[in-house]
């Protein structure tokens, strides 16, 4: 059997963390903060990768698990993916680079979490429907203007909300804060 040249465990971690979200191709799972652990057995051929779901119903999780196994195989490891639920993921786990990656795709990084006890936010009063929309707490990822409004708290995927920029007129997604 021909085996890809096996790399050091540290590099395996890099390889695993470089797997990207199938729905947000500039965002790696490392920057999303969903890789919880990685261990390699004594012989150094088998790896266990622990990941955590972002949103409970996110269908991308299964694709990411498959991509992790493929990526590990590419560098000579047979990997098994374990899903851990604790502690639950929140958008605070996104790295600074992850927030930049979202910005590059014109997706606004998550704003303050609703009801966050840390206090950098608290409930943001909004209205719903076609009435004058409420000022958002997020800046436009295209032109940078703060003059934006929330159109819908639920967007194109489980993890996004829909906004519009009043300055440049473009609608945009926000990676919603939980």
């Amino acid at each position: 059997m021909v085996r890809a040249t096996r790399v050091l465990a540290a590099e395996l971690r890099h390889t695993v963390e470089s797997v990207t979200d199938p729905e947000i191709p500039t965002l790696t799972i490392g920057d999303m903060g969903i890789v919880r652990g990685l261990s390699v057995d004594e012989e150094g051929a088998e790896a266990v990768v622990t990941i955590t779901p972002t949103y409970s119903g996110c269908p991308a999780l299964e694709v990411m698990a498959r991509d992790i196994v493929d990526a590990a195989a590419g560098v000579g490891y047979s990997a098994r993916v374990v899903v851990s639920h604790n502690p639950p993921w929140t958008t605070d786990w996104l790295t600074e680079r992850g927030r930049e990656a979202l910005q590059e795709l014109h997706i606004a990084p998550p704003g303050p979490r609703p009801g966050d006890p840390a206090g950098h936010g608290g409930p943001v009063p909004v209205t719903i429907g076609r009435a004058p929309h409420t000022q958002s707490a997020v800046a436009c990822p295209r032109c940078g203007s703060d003059d934006t409004e929330l159109i819908s708290r639920f967007g194109t995927t489980a993890c996004k909300a829909l906004h519009r920029c009043r300055a440049c007129g473009d609608p945009f997604d926000e990676f919603k804060a939980v």
């Binding site: 779901p53 949103y55 409970s56 119903g57 996110c58 639920h85 604790n86 609703p114 429907g129 967007g155």
Partner: protein
């Protein structure tokens, strides 16, 4: 291995699965496309939490069942959800009252579950913690609609008032304690639904006031016994639709 609180968790999982199925029915039928997506998304969150809970149950209740075994291969009498979540999709006003009630209850009961299980069962505590965060978002969505419709036009106010009448008989069952709850409480990881009544209905009542609506009316009858598998006529039709594909093609995978 069998956890004494597994039967109480099964009730939570069934509430989530059955309500997810009803919410999914709104896709293409909500008043606006953003709302199709919103209700679809909330349903997806509930489905995801049901899957995690069923997977957890299969490892602790001694049956080694998969999530699909729970969802597709149990019959009506084996489901433990409340009558409220199985009722057919009605007026949008009814749905917003139902969502406000279910999400408000979920916020309280998942908060209690996360706190109670965190020292003893970190998987369950993690699932509950995530469910809590998501339910806060769902509850806020329902609150915004209830306020907007209640304090809206004459027509929307009248329809919200009629919806409250229709939903009221299903409320008391949400706070009825069962043997499963007692087992969980005795094991130190449960919470009596009756103990959440005040906080849940307090929240709902405050929203109704903000929406210029009357409080939940006192109903002339009460739904009961969903938690012991006695369901309304609507449940069989729902399960038939949900389970038919899996039962027609056993073992089929994507």
């Amino acid at each position: 291995m069998s956890a004494p609180y597994a039967p109480a968790v099964l009730a939570l999982a069934d509430d989530a699965l059955i309500y997810a199925q009803r919410l999914g029915e709104w896709i293409s039928r909500a008043p606006q496309i953003e709302e199709d997506m919103a209700l679809g998304n909330i349903g997806l969150d509930l489905l995801g939490r049901a899957r995690s809970l069923y997977t957890w149950l299969g490892t602790v209740d001694g049956t080694d069942r998969s999530e699909d075994d729970y969802a597709y291969w149990r019959d009506e009498r084996e489901f433990r959800h409340v009558h409220l979540v199985e009722q057919p999709r009605g007026d949008f006003a009814d749905e917003m009252i139902r969502l406000l009630l279910v999400a408000s209850l979920d916020v309280e009961r998942y908060a209690a579950l996360a706190a109670a299980t965190s020292p003893v069962d970190e998987t369950l505590a993690g699932i509950a913690g995530k469910a809590l965060n998501e339910s806060r978002y769902h509850r806020d969505h329902a609150r915004l609609w209830v306020v907007r419709l209640g304090d809206g036009t004459e027509e929307s106010h009248a329809r919200m008032t009629a919806a409250l009448e229709r939903v009221a008989p299903y409320v008391s069952e949400l706070f009825t304690d069962t043997v499963a709850d007692q087992e969980a409480v005795l094991a130190g990881v449960g919470v009596y639904p009756s103990s959440l009544r005040e906080s849940v209905l307090g929240y709902v009542g405050a929203v109704l006031t903000e929406a210029t609506l009357d409080p939940l009316p006192e109903p002339s009858w009460h739904a009961r016994d969903g938690r012991i598998g006695v369901h309304s006529e609507a449940c069989g039709y729902l399960l038939a639709e949900m389970q038919h594909l899996a039962r027609s093609h056993p073992g089929a995978t994507w």
